[in-house]
């Protein structure tokens, strides 16, 4: 019997599909003979009472979730997402540096420092990557700090904003596609495969409505993992391997028949009727991993 704490924040229950998925985790754990309790921000002192921690709140080194992960890790608990995965996945500079080092196919990328941020450098970037280019703040998630620019003025405006919190930012060639492949990976094995479609006329999977705090997300199309392209799955596993043995969601673009990794996410979203649609065993696989 394993005592599992599931670290969540209030917003994890605000979408009914996510709330249902969380209940599925709980029921699956209990059916397998384990304890499964939701743990909130105020409950960190309870961590030592558990054997493993499953983090569903958004992970970032700046958030409480990292404190939970690192505390559990220091105490010798099993933890998903582990602190190393959080560190690497939360920072695009970190992650893309590893892609470069280990030869994971990725979008052509450069890093730009505050100091090199001048006219000549910007002109050179447009020359090499063409127009537009994509600028990303290293800490972005939910597509919030990923923007497309096609002239020096908007380049400067966006970069300046992203430099407020990070001394380095990411610039990439613009490579649009109709959807992102999303490959869920657990412990070096493919867990599920979906396509995250772009909303009509958009180039990002998630788009903020003008003047509103809410996001619109494209449709999710789910495949049976066994029916997904083999090379797609290989590429996803290769990218995860350089990060760790936890739970990941890999975003991949298919461009002229090649698979190019956009990024590896730790803490991938799992919504009832979406990621679990074709492979119902994903809850059980994750619970078994937490209780190994």
């Amino acid at each position: 019997m394993t005592r599992i704490a599931c670290f969540v924040e209030k917003y994890n229950f605000s979408n009914s599909r996510e709330a249902e998925a969380l209940q599925n985790f709980k029921q699956t754990a209990e059916r397998l003979g384990h304890e499964f309790h939701f743990m909130f921000r105020g409950g960190l002192s309870e961590i030592p009472k558990y054997d493993s921690v499953f983090i569903r709140a958004t992970t970032d080194p700046l958030y409480t979730a990292y404190v939970v992960s690192k505390t559990a890790w220091e105490l010798g608990l099993k933890v998903v997402d582990d602190p190393v995965s959080i560190r690497v996945c939360a920072n695009k500079i970190h992650q893309y540096s590893l892609f470069k080092k280990y030869g994971v196919p990725h979008i052509p990328t450069i890093f730009l420092s505050k100091e090199e941020f001048h006219h000549r450098q910007i002109a050179e970037i447009f020359e090499v990557f063409g127009k537009p280019v994509v600028i990303k703040a290293p800490y972005t998630s939910f597509s919030r700090y990923v923007e497309k620019v096609s002239c020096e003025t908007s380049f400067r405006e966006v970069a300046k904003r992203f430099f407020r919190r990070s001394d380095y930012i990411v610039v990439q060639k613009f490579m649009p596609s109709r959807f992102d492949w999303r490959v869920g990976v657990l412990n070096g094995e493919v867990l599920y495969v979906c396509k995250y479609m772009m909303p009509k006329g958009k180039w990002k999977h998630g788009v903020k409505k003008r003047g509103k705090p809410s996001f619109i997300w494209g449709r999710t199309v789910t495949l049976k993992r066994n029916n997904a392209p083999h090379r797609l799955k290989e590429t996803a596993l290769k990218a995860c391997n350089i990060i760790g043995k936890g739970l990941y969601g890999v975003d991949i673009k298919e461009i002229n028949g090649d698979y190019v990794v956009v990024e590896v996410n730790d803490n991938p979203s799992i919504y009832k009727g979406q990621e679990d649609l074709r492979d119902k065993d994903i809850y059980e696989k994750i619970i078994r991993f937490l209780s190994e």
């Binding site: 921000r41 700046l62 105490l75 500079i93 001394d167």
Partner: protein, 229 residues
């Protein structure tokens, strides 16, 4: 061994500027001496670059991140035998009041700020401190009982220019655990003991000429001794 620093060290070996190092592909041991290792600041990226190259580096990105997060700092140093104050992580004033009597010390948990800490003697002050240090409840805060005087100690490789022996022992323990070359420690003194409460980056303007002397001495000692210990 390569010394990378944004501080004008007085040592008789070359010092590489962070921006230069970040363009290099140096292989070997890197000593990253910076006043600020906060997440996503240049000092952090120096350690990250070294790690990606496969270099050994002090401090590691793991330690740089952990050191500025009070709950992790306290958990890790306590595990290594340092005296610490009890603490809770929360954003709920009610929970804090159920746990501790006033006064309390409130530290930010998000490592973005140079914020120091706030003390609260009563409920109103506590509300204000929690609201401001949590950036309007976006992040949690770390709260500890305030039982003595809070000392702020500048610390270089575990050495500090302070007279207090028990505070110096805490500084050495913290360095032994996290290897942060330059930092500011928050330590509570009472009942003849010193208890670790927090660690934050030093602002450039807080580093005096005599601090630079002490720091330079420590860097020379560190590089002379090599990195085997």
């Amino acid at each position: 061994m390569l010394v990378v620093s944004n501080i004008d060290l007085k040592i008789n070996k070359p010092v590489t500027k962070p921006s230069e190092f970040l363009k290099s592909s140096f292989r070997g041991f890197v000593l990253n001496v910076n006043n600020d290792y906060r997440y996503m600041k240049t000092g952090y990226y120096v350690s990250l670059h070294a790690e990606v190259l496969g270099d050994e580096v002090v401090p590691t990105t793991e330690n740089a991140l952990d050191a500025y997060r009070p709950p992790i700092l306290l958990t890790r140093t306590a595990k290594n035998g340092a005296p610490i104050m009890p603490f809770i992580v929360t954003d709920s004033v009610r929970q804090i009041m159920a746990e501790f009597a006033f006064p309390v010390a409130v530290f930010p948990v998000n490592p973005f700020s140079f914020n120091g800490f706030r003390t609260a003697e009563n409920r109103t002050a506590l509300y204000r401190a929690v609201k401001s240090l949590s950036m309007n409840y976006r992040y949690a805060v770390c709260v500890q009982p305030l039982q003595g005087e809070m000392m702020v100690v500048k610390c270089f490789f575990g050495e500090c220019a302070c007279e207090d022996n028990s505070a110096r022992a805490v500084a050495r323990k913290v360095y032994e655990t996290l290897k942060i070359p330059v930092c500011k420690l928050y330590v509570q003194r009472f009942n003849g003991g010193a208890y670790l409460c927090g660690l934050q980056p030093l602002k450039m303007e807080e580093i005096t000429p005599s601090d630079v002397d002490l720091l330079s001495k420590m860097v020379s000692r560190f590089s002379g001794k090599g990195w085997s210990d």
